[in-house]
Symmetry: C2
Amino acid sequence: MSQTLAYDNLFNFVLQVFLQMGCNTEHATLATQVLLSADLRGVDSHGVARLSGYVRLWEAKRINAKPNLKVVYETPSTAVVDGDAGLGLVVAPFAMQVAIEKAKKVGTGWVSVKNSNHFGIAGFHAMMALDHNMIGMAMTNASALVAPTFSIERMLGTNPIAVAIPANNEPAFVADFATTTASNGKLEILQRKDQEAPEGWVQDANGQATTNASALKEGGAMLPLGGDREHGSHKGYALGSIVDIFSAVLSGASYGPWAPPFPAYVPMPQNMPGEGLGHFLGAMRVDAFRPATEFTDHMDNWIRRFKTAKPAPGHEKVLIPGDPEREMETTRRKEGIPLFESVVADLIGVGEKMGISFPH
Amino acid sequence: MSQTLAYDNLFNFVLQVFLQMGCNTEHATLATQVLLSADLRGVDSHGVARLSGYVRLWEAKRINAKPNLKVVYETPSTAVVDGDAGLGLVVAPFAMQVAIEKAKKVGTGWVSVKNSNHFGIAGFHAMMALDHNMIGMAMTNASALVAPTFSIERMLGTNPIAVAIPANNEPAFVADFATTTASNGKLEILQRKDQEAPEGWVQDANGQATTNASALKEGGAMLPLGGDREHGSHKGYALGSIVDIFSAVLSGASYGPWAPPFPAYVPMPQNMPGEGLGHFLGAMRVDAFRPATEFTDHMDNWIRRFKTAKPAPGHEKVLIPGDPEREMETTRRKEGIPLFESVVADLIGVGEKMGISFPH
């Protein structure tokens, strides 16, 4: 870590970058907020570390800074949104808002999105539902890095699932996880440090288990949650597939191995069966099932019971999904966001390109 | 395996048992069909092997053979069903039908169920949606056998998730899996054979990894999908928790460690926060997102592409979720259902108790 930057300073820098790309103020502000929510919550791989990647996609004309976001198909509880090749960082919140409005009217809302791009952390979008006393869900497909069980071909992205569930006095339950053993971000950190990966994270080009964190660069693949068949990798493969189908086959986005790659230097796949990346967003009013306070009081009870489950020796307590990220956000809002040397260099480069000075 | 029985013979026996319990003909037929769908699909742990367990629950008056199934709360896209302590085998299809009817009207239907019992295989209920060109989902909570990450206390059931997705010419995609590394059924088979379990399936009473397949009987616990923290067990824990909350906190069933136990000899938990077991069923019309044949044609394309993904050395091909179970069903409908000696003895015992002779 070379530098720690106050959230507001980082926010202003990123905001200027998005404005410079041609986003209007509303979109630039939202995109910045979504992107930095990853840095705040400690998901460093999905925050400003990716800003230069977005800029390169924009330079390659794969990202449209002035998208015309619209609902192109709908029923009372569903919709398909065309992201018009916009930043996923603004397309996904638009779609989530559509889901929330539908949930207000008929109890739940489900929106599949096509023609989008990387949407940051899934958790941000799912959590939009919380203010409305709704359960939120968000998933997205992504460039293929993951081999299905029994395969050596990369067919799926790390395809995350986020589910946010409101409580009353307790903080919300917020699960947000890749459907692989480990996230690509964690793998990248090991590569950077030249360390080995635990078994079950990756396989080599021949499908053999390996602890080589750079196996991906050498033709290997990431593994679905479970790792191998004996430990349930077919379940992780099924989960990643469900995310791919809900996000891209339902909407008309490009699925499976045809998902558009995030690095702008990787050529687009041939014969894409759909448009851009896909997402799937859902919102369920809790009072569509039982009176809201009845539900949130029971969630308090659920959370307290799980928090006080007997810890294993060497562990202080059981965590509720979302606890570590919320604590990290509190710390980083106060103490600032630590940035790797390489990320700072990357951001300075973006700034120079766009004529914006990096804060220090 | 001591005996192989034709499906029809087994069906008639089980039907008589449910009729003898007092189920009406419609319920008895449906319960038999759901229960035996597990045996047909090769999920032997959830089929007739459990019949004596259902009978004991009925004898203990925990199962009501004449339930008054009803919707007790609803919006256009949601409902809560009270199972009136009925067999989950009939409560869940009733609830799924409610979800399907709502989906016909507003695009999707989501039903949370309380006051139910074990519902057989989740896949059966999810697959009910397929005939309507809908995506089906089914999940259920279950008696606590699984320790959350960092805990030694059993807090969750094996809480399965099933998702069935229709295709056009290809068979449907049908995922159906416990949110643990391995199902309890597989563990029971290892116990019966006195074999060791792979690492990552169970932990002992002190939270240490163990290969002792009987660790559960000695105060240990099953592990969430992922196995340990390094391999993503917090994701399996989150998935099992989501199933618990959707099935039981949304509906008003009893959740977490308070879920009612399946073995009738285990006393009911103290201070249960809800009624009985919970399920969550969902149906989404595919034409609520895009024209139906457009979707199912793309699903054909998805399935064919994944089926022909490059296999790893030593493997013939990549499987699509649901393939093995469908092939098993074809075989067993033709060749009969093989039953373990112990299961046959168990069924003969049930027959004697109910005055029904077991076919041979």
